[in-house]
Symmetry: C2
Subunit: 369 residues, 2 copies
């Protein structure tokens, strides 16, 4: 019995056929393998550019001797430590193999086949993918002309059938936030059958005083607040994110969680990283300073950019973004072309250390002049 | 707007409400936290009892400096190395956060709401959970009176609506295998609309000469062969498993794969572990010897056990398994009670080093006498 390609495709689950696998930002390794020989600057994936501090490395090396054993449950190790740090209850927390896994878990927990879910246009594509994998139907809400999430538009798109709403705050790739006042007004008008996933992956970088801390609202709505160790905490490579929600919601997410979804070394690294608060703060402060440096340089180049509450900047190059992306690659600089999000003249630049930001600016100047 | 527990439950996706979260085997850490003070022997999760060899630890410690970066894609690193080792193509491989994630990925790729899927009774519960999460309907095939997978019974339960069949070979918790001849006869009679997941998590321990190597059949059927680094390779804690299938099937599994599902340290550990073939072989040989030692002792105790092709043994204690499990815990020995699989007088014992096997036997003797 030999099946051809067409027949295999005919076995696919509904909704899966049209999904495209995610294409991540180019890695330094990939560019090196592609034959690029000079120095490579990766400003593409909103990572912390620094290796984690020694206590984190040491915690990993120590735990490495125990990796023949399945990961221990987190309820009595990482969860109490994080709960104390956040000021929430242990049973208000759940962990994922990256925050992205929790997005999928939430959809698999709540979204039935055909359920509409509101997602903003120009955002992290994991929301749409997870909704489609669960069989749901994405409904898109456009950004405002100033590239902000339009909470009123989202509310207007909610129907009695709507199951979930995805609110990134700050949003990726625009870097914009909505205010405490706007969020509270949104929650007050939100029908109670809608589960809200509030993605705060970048919250450590926010300095807008009107920014709402999602944790403060978990008892006011079916709200899942998403956080990660991948960005400011510098642990993108070990994969650990978490969600904060009411214990009854957390309990339901556990129904679809894979038993050993967070690996031993990620648990050890996160425990150690939580104690490196000063290191995280220092990184955030440095990036905020570098962001001002980049803003200044972009203004001098007469380039429009969106003022950002994160460690990345969306920049309008005025040219075809794919071509700018390729030209930057020739200079050894990796960014993300806005074409991924339907923003055809924009590039998304991760804020890096001064030397890398300068390399980017020099390359960009050479390209646009 | 305050929702009560009932209202939250009413938002749940179909099929999720009745799922129970997986309860993993007790960890040494959990037993220590519970106040157990003497030595603890964990023979519960079919792990390799030995810390990985130094080159694996070194690879992890070295890679730890890069964990601020997202994991690189595996197509040009681990995949070619594993493909060369296995003698298959790079595009015939996909990796998961443990093999268990691939079970879920397969169901999310192929199983529509209501699709029947055939699962054997008394097996690894991840198959049923994944089918239910995808919205499918498990159909159970009983084992033969000798506790073997009944391939004829499975075929008899396949209807035109059946989407997937789960074949563990060896099966967990029975440790039994089906033969090459039986499998080939099964494939010859299998309707071509059924996707087969052949789980070979324990294949390194098999010494039955009639055992079929699933890899040899991936071009004969929509067959997904599942393997793991969690058992013989001693990497349960870092979470990495893989599947071998036709490139068109692999391609479809990528549609639902989370972009960074396998962490950097797991990739580095697996690359290093692949080069530790002698260490793996030595472990397997030692466990086969210890299994004979345990068989002999169990015969002396007049206890029935199922002859196993794995690193675990299913033993009929003749008593209530939960009580035996608790009594063994008092002696500091962790096993798995058969009640998990509806086998109410059985316990599943992981074969350990001699000293741990002796501790188990001494505790068991004290309990059953």
């Amino acid at each position: 019995m030999i099946l051809n390609m067409f027949e295999i495709k005919s076995l696919l689950r509904k909704g899966i056929r049209d999904l495209e696998p995610y294409v991540p930002g180019l890695s330094e390794e990939a560019l090196q393998r592609a034959g690029h020989r000079s120095e490579i600057t990766k400003l593409a994936s909103n990572e912390n550019p620094t290796s984690p501090p020694d206590p984190v490395i040491d915690a990993i090396c120590q735990e490495a001797r125990r990796i023949n054993r399945y990961p221990a449950g987190m309820d009595e190790t990482l969860a109490p430590e994080l709960a104390a740090f956040l000021g929430c209850g242990t049973h208000e927390l759940i962990f994922g193999n990256g925050a992205e896994e929790i997005i999928l878990m939430a959809c698999l927990t709540f979204v039935n086949e055909g359920d509409p879910c509101v997602i903003i246009e120009h955002t992290f594509d994991a929301y749409e993918t997870a909704v489609r994998v669960a069989g749901g139907k994405p409904v898109f809400s456009p950004l405002t002309p100033s590239f902000h999430v339009d909470l009123d538009d989202i509310l207007a798109r909610i129907t009695p059938e709507t199951k979930m709403v995805f609110l990134p705050n700050p949003n990726n790739p625009t870097g914009t936030v909505f205010t405490k006042k706007a969020f509270e007004s949104f929650l007050a008008r939100l029908p109670e059958h809608v589960v809200v996933l509030l993605d705060e992956a970048y919250h450590e970088y926010v300095d807008a005083p009107a920014y709402p801390d999602g944790m403060g609202y978990i008892h006011d709505a079916p709200l899942i607040v998403l956080r990660t160790f991948s960005k400011a905490y510098g642990l993108a490579g070990v994969r650990i994110g978490y969600a904060i929600a009411r214990p009854d919601i957390i309990d339901m997410l556990h129904h679809v969680r894979l038993p050993f979804n967070v690996n031993r070394l990620a648990q050890a690294a996160a425990m150690a990283a939580l104690r490196q608060r000063a290191w995280v703060q220092e990184h955030v402060q440095k990036m905020l300073g570098e962001k001002q440096f980049l803003y200044h340089a972009l203004k001098e180049l007469n380039l429009f950019y969106i003022s950002s509450q994160t460690n990345f900047i969306l920049i309008d190059t005025g040219k075809n973004a794919d071509q700018v992306f390729q030209a930057l690659l020739h200079h050894g600089v990796i960014v993300r072309p806005g074409t991924i999000w339907g923003l055809d003249t924009f590039i998304r630049l991760t804020v890096g250390p001064r030397r890398e930001n300068e390399r980017f600016l020099n390359a960009l100047k050479a390209i646009i002049s």
